[in-house]
């Protein structure tokens, strides 16, 4: 079973991702802060990480950079963020994210996007 780590501080949004991912056979791990996320990523080595960018301690960009240092390039990290200004996608990719999904997400296509990175 593929492991997916959700790093998201908004419980409603985390619940939405959980609900969508539960349509498939995934093992779901969750963290609500960047630091917890890094620890869980290191312990569990997930198959994919969903990364919120605005987080209470470390932001998602810095969290991504640190996870990349620990796990290297093998785990796809998808930024899922409400930062939808020009340049935000580029900033996410420059920090080491593999892909970028803009919030609000489209539930109809969300799983397909996840699949394309697994």
């Amino acid at each position: 079973m593929k492991k997916i780590l959700i790093i998201e501080d908004n419980e409603d949004n985390a619940f939405l991702f959980r609900s969508l991912l539960s349509l498939r056979e995934f093992e779901i791990i969750e963290a609500a802060t960047g630091l917890d996320g890094i620890e869980l990523a290191e312990q569990n080595v997930p198959d994919l990480i969903l990364m919120d960018i605005q987080l209470p301690d470390l932001n998602g960009l810095e969290t991504t950079r640190r996870i990349r240092v620990i796990l290297g390039d093998r785990v796809p990290i998808l930024a899922v963020t409400s930062y939808a200004m020009t340049g935000d996608r580029e900033r996410c990719l420059a920090a080491g994210c593999t892909g970028y999904i803009e919030k609000p997400i489209k539930p109809e296509t969300f799983l397909r996007e996840i699949d394309s990175f697994l």
Partner: protein, 388 residues
Amino acid sequence: MNAKSVGGFPMKILVVDDNKDNVELMKQILEDEYNLHVAYSGEECIEKAIAQQPDLILLDVNMPDMDGYETMQKLKQGPTTWYIPVIFASAFYTDSAMIVKGLEQGAFDYLTKPIDEDILQAKVRAVKRIKRAEDEIRHQKDELQLINNKLQSADKLKSIFLASMSHELRTPLNSIIGFTGLMLMQVAGSINEQQKEQLNRVKRNADHLLELINDVLDISKIEADKVELAISSFDICALVGEIIQNIAPEFEEKGLELALNRPEIAIMVTSDPRRVRQILMNFMSNALKFTKQGSITVELNFNEAHQVVITVEDTGIGIPTENMDKLFEPFQQISSDLTNHYKGTGLGLYLCKKLSSLIQADIQVISEINVGSKFTLNLPNKIKMDVI
């Protein structure tokens, strides 16, 4: 020099003359009403003018070493003395050429010796009046500068506020749109037709709210000059085809015909495809919104000015002539009863106009009530990079 020196305190006058008797005479005439300072040479005059910033200098022309003309020249070149009015006084140089020379060098006025007390008093009062007006202007200028600074920082604050609001509003919308979509997917159990219709309305309104947020964000970025264009070379025919393919189901749903007339070749243009798409999507969704029956025709062609001409023509309700010039202003969706019927942000065409000028394109509209509207985008085939 501060504004109070004239308003609240007696005017400060520097009397410059190498002759002590002349200085005494001036003192007698002016001392009661004005704050008098004295210099006995051109050098001393300049030193005191810098140090004391008098409101007026009464300058003798005929002095040993540095004469009055040279002194005045130095005063007019000094960064802290050039604006001090000078009245020069002389017994010897009273022919018009010498007077003109003094005035040309920047003197405010002149006096001839022997000094006439009344004329001296009147000329000093004239300086006083002008100074009061100048001080008033300077004061207003300072105030305007202050207001301008405040406006600039308020404007910056507005942009930051809008950007952060956009982010904050998207987060709850993620839950609303996400869970609505999830329920419509019926994965947690089936829903009946009525519930489906109700959820669809939630979804449509949430999508509309998202559109509004995006438009507001785009406009705030344009107004703050923060739009970055991503220029590339692309096939405009393919782009238009793609837009039509995406939006076709909505036309079908409404029973509207949708036709595309274009040359069957690739037409490469150099521009920002995202912005072009945004403008054309706006044309298309307006056509969809305001057409009850009939057809929408999209045409792609060239004109003599090396522009790609894209038109979107509908058979919709049309635009009243008197509202044509308001069309591209924000929140001006024509007539309130229509607004209730035809949901829109009221920002679409305003945004289109702003975007089109960014990509050096222009938009034209022709319309007839109950016949239809035709929106045209004239897009240069190559954006001029040095103008961006």
